[in-house]
Every structure is written in structure tokens, then in C-alpha cells.
């Protein structure tokens, strides 16, 4: 599983950092998303689904099977 976060579309609403502070932070400069862990273990999938549905801009994507 692999997370990507697009800092261009991110509006710095911080849903991600609120829901999963161990995976996401926000930059001090403009508040945009900072990925702390791009490949968390699959047990976090429910939390990530919540983040994806709550992110107001669709900046966060989760690839469940990167096809390594």
C-alpha cells in the first residue's frame, strides 16, 4: 500500500493531520500536507479511507496494491 499527497491541490484544511497525526503533518510555511509515512502497514487502511473521504480537495490517494 502506498500513499501519495498532492501539495498543489491541498488546501491545508488539516483533516489528514487531525485523523492520522502519525501519517500526516502540515508544513509550518503554508499548512500544506506533509507525508510522514508513505507506506504504513495495511492495518491502517480503514483510517486512510476515512482520511481520503474527509480530505476536502482529494489531495490524498491510496494505492492499495502498487503491484510491486
Amino acid at each position: 500500500m502506498r500513499i501519495t499527497a498532492d501539495r498543489e491541490v491541498c488546501c491545508s484544511a488539516g483533516q489528514c493531520a487531525l485523523i492520522a497525526p502519525d501519517l500526516f503533518d502540515q508544513s509550518d510555511e503554508d499548512g500544506s500536507v506533509v507525508l510522514l509515512d508513505a507506506q504504513p502497514d495495511t492495518g491502517r487502511l480503514d483510517v486512510l479511507r476515512e482520511v481520503v473521504s474527509r480530505c476536502p480537495t482529494g489531495a490524498i490517494r491510496v494505492e492499495e496494491d502498487p503491484g510491486v
Binding site: 484544511a13 502540515q26 508544513s27 509550518d28 503554508d30 474527509r54
Partner: protein, 363 residues
């Protein structure tokens, strides 16, 4: 449906469609196209002032917003918690002195958010109450044109005195940071400051007051919260959802003819998301009309959605959490001093809440 002034407009009450609209590229938040869904003389002609980014679209919107979001991140707002705690306790000291028996709105809920925001921007305390009155006037739908003009000129009078002084001598605060950043001229700094003041003052104050009123009227939920203070996080979210004080919702207008939710919306028509209805959409929530502070499935839109989602949301959450905690902790016998249905409500305001909240407690 027909909007104020007879134009055609639309109302969204479904949660899923609300999220779609607020992220849809064919709809604009620009001030010049917004028409109020309810009758009011309050209306703004023309585009938003420079820096007033809430009523603009990207890329102008994001350019401004990104300059301040660093102050409103989850982590940063947690760092403001000690300042918020100090202000909350100072206001509760005043409450203690004023009673038993006082108007909670006057002594507590109205003062805390405005003091917090003033401290962040560096607005002197001597100006705060006047600014608060102006913000209140501009949020009152029954406000007349002369009243609105007086409030607007009061606000801009303050800003044109305050901002240039700080540009000469920037302090160590939000405004100082924006000034030192060097990306904004005087007009933009004024627009930005006005946006932060109007965004923060009465929203959070009303939410604080409505939350206390609601918990006092739902003693079982309050007891549950007292028993398990860990529930405060979900309680704040549930109160935001259940109360959704932004009664007028969020409005956008179509930039082009567009098919949306099975309807043909014409260029220029306004669509309003009825946030209170959306947050009680039975397709989205089980028992939507029930207050359940343990509810974990939120995803509510009380703070909006899309790129305009509330900038101050984490600050608001911290103020609400700290405010409710300290109030119920220091005043364990807090109760309404009048029957609930006699509490005067602000029916004619953009943000709903009690006009005054008479409470009392045992000494």
C-alpha cells in the same frame, strides 16, 4: 426555487451532493455572483475586497489562504492551547465574580473567541468590543442599509488606522508575519485582517454558547461527558454536526450552464448548500436528529467542504474543547436560570445561537 429578488436558485439538502457541489469546478464562490437565499438588505455588490479570500476563487483564493494557513494547522493550534486556556480561565474568573446568576453570552462565550483572535492578530483590547458590535451587525439579516454602512465604515476605519501603524512596526504575531513576508500591500493586509476577524468572532462564540445550552438541555449526554472526559473530541464534532450554526449554509454560483444532480443549472444561478439539513441527512446518518456525543461517524459539513473549508476549524475546535471542559469543571452545578424555551434566540442572524443565556449555579 425563487431567491430573494425573484431569481431562480437551488438548495441542496443531501450530504453527497453537497460534497460534490463544494468541490465542483463549474461553481464559484466569488462575491459578485452570490445572492442570498433569504430576504435581507445585506448584500455586497461587486467583487470581494483585495485580501478577502473567502469570496474569491482559486488561484487568487489559494494565494491568500496559503499565506495564513501556517497559523491554523492542527499542530500550530495545539500550541495556542495555553493562551486559550488562560483567556478561558480569566473569563470564568469574571463569571464567578458576576454570580451566581449571569448571562453566559456576555461574560463568557462572546468574549473568549474574540479575545483569542485579537491576541493572535495583535488587535488592542480597547478596540475589541467595538469590532465585535460591527461583526454582529453585519451578521444580522434584519440589518438595514444605513446600519450596515455604519458597521462597514467602522471596520474599515479601524483597519486603516491599525494596519499602517503595524506596517511601520510589525510585531511578533500573525499580522507581523504577514507584513514581514512582504507579499501583501496595505489593502490586502486590511482585507485579510477583516476576513479573519469576521470569520472568527461570532461563529465560535455562538457555537460555544449553543453547545452549552444544548448540553444543559440534554442532561444524559452531559452526564456521559462528565463521566468520560475522553469523549470531548467526539462531543465537539457531534455538537458541530447537530447544531450546524451556519444556518444560511454555503452558496456558490454557476460559471456556466451545467448538469448537476440531474438538474440543468443555468450560468449565473446560485446554489446554496443547506448545511444544517445536509448534516442531518437520513441517507448519511443513523438517527440524524439525535444528539449522541459518542457518535464517531462524523464527516459533517458544519465547517464546509472543498477549498473553502473553514480555515479556523482547528482553532475553533480547541476553543470549544477548552471552553466546555473548563466551564463544566469549574461550575459543576451550572444550570439554566430560565426554562429552555424562554432563552432568546438569534433567529435573524447568519450564525444561530442564543442572544443571551441566563445561567446560575450553587455558590
Amino acid at each position: 426555487m425563487s431567491y430573494h429578488g425573484g431569481t431562480t436558485g437551488w438548495l441542496i439538502t443531501r450530504h453527497a451532493e453537497a460534497k460534490e457541489l463544494l468541490t465542483h469546478k463549474s461553481f464559484s464562490a466569488r462575491q459578485e455572483g452570490i445572492i442570498s437565499p433569504v430576504p435581507t438588505e445585506l448584500g455586497y455588490a461587486g467583487p470581494a475586497d483585495p485580501g478577502a479570500f473567502a469570496k474569491t476563487d482559486d488561484p487568487i483564493h489559494s494565494r491568500y489562504r496559503k499565506l495564513v494557513t501556517g497559523f491554523f494547522t492542527v499542530r500550530r493550534t495545539r500550541q495556542f492551547a495555553p493562551m486559550i486556556e488562560r483567556i478561558v480561565h480569566e473569563q470564568l474568573d469574571d463569571l464567578e465574580k458576576a454570580g451566581p446568576g449571569a448571562d453566559l453570552v456576555e461574560v463568557f462565550t462572546e468574549s473568549v473567541p474574540s479575545r483569542v483572535m485579537c491576541e493572535m492578530i495583535g488587535v488592542p483590547e480597547s478596540e475589541r468590543k467595538t469590532l465585535q458590535r460591527h461583526v454582529e451587525t453585519l451578521g444580522r439579516l434584519s440589518c438595514t442599509v444605513p446600519e450596515a454602512l455604519a458597521a462597514v465604515s467602522g471596520m474599515s476605519g479601524f483597519l486603516s488606522r491599525f494596519v499602517p501603524v503595524r506596517m511601520d512596526d510589525p510585531r511578533d504575531d500573525l499580522l507581523g508575519d504577514l507584513i514581514r513576508g512582504g507579499q501583501l500591500d496595505e489593502q490586502e493586509l486590511m482585507g485579510m485582517t477583516a476576513t479573519l476577524i469576521t470569520g472568527a468572532f461570532d461563529t465560535t462564540g455562538n457555537m460555544l454558547a449553543m453547545g452549552v445550552f444544548t448540553l444543559l438541555e440534554h442532561p444524559d449526554q452531559l452526564a456521559k461527558l462528565r463521566e468520560d472526559p475522553e469523549l470531548m473530541g467526539t462531543a465537539v464534532e457531534e455538537l458541530l454536526r447537530f447544531l450546524t450554526i451556519s444556518h444560511l449554509g454555503a452558496s456558490r454560483w454557476a460559471l456556466e450552464d451545467v448538469e448537476f444532480a440531474g438538474q440543468s443549472i443555468k450560468k449565473g444561478e446560485v446554489v446554496t448548500v443547506a448545511l444544517p439539513a445536509v448534516n442531518r441527512d437520513p441517507e448519511r446518518y443513523d438517527n440524524p436528529d439525535q444528539l449522541d456525543i459518542g457518535r464517531t461517524d462524523h464527516g459533517h459539513l458544519a465547517l464546509g467542504h472543498g477549498v473553502h473549508q473553514c480555515l479556523g476549524q482547528h482553532l475553533a475546535r480547541t476553543i470549544l474543547r477548552v471552553g466546555y471542559e473548563a466551564l463544566f469543571d469549574r461550575f459543576p452545578t451550572l444550570r439554566l436560570a430560565v426554562p429552555g424555551d424562554e432563552v432568546p434566540m438569534r433567529d435573524d442572524f447568519v450564525h444561530y445561537g442564543p442572544r443571551s443565556l441566563p445561567v446560575t449555579w450553587d455558590d
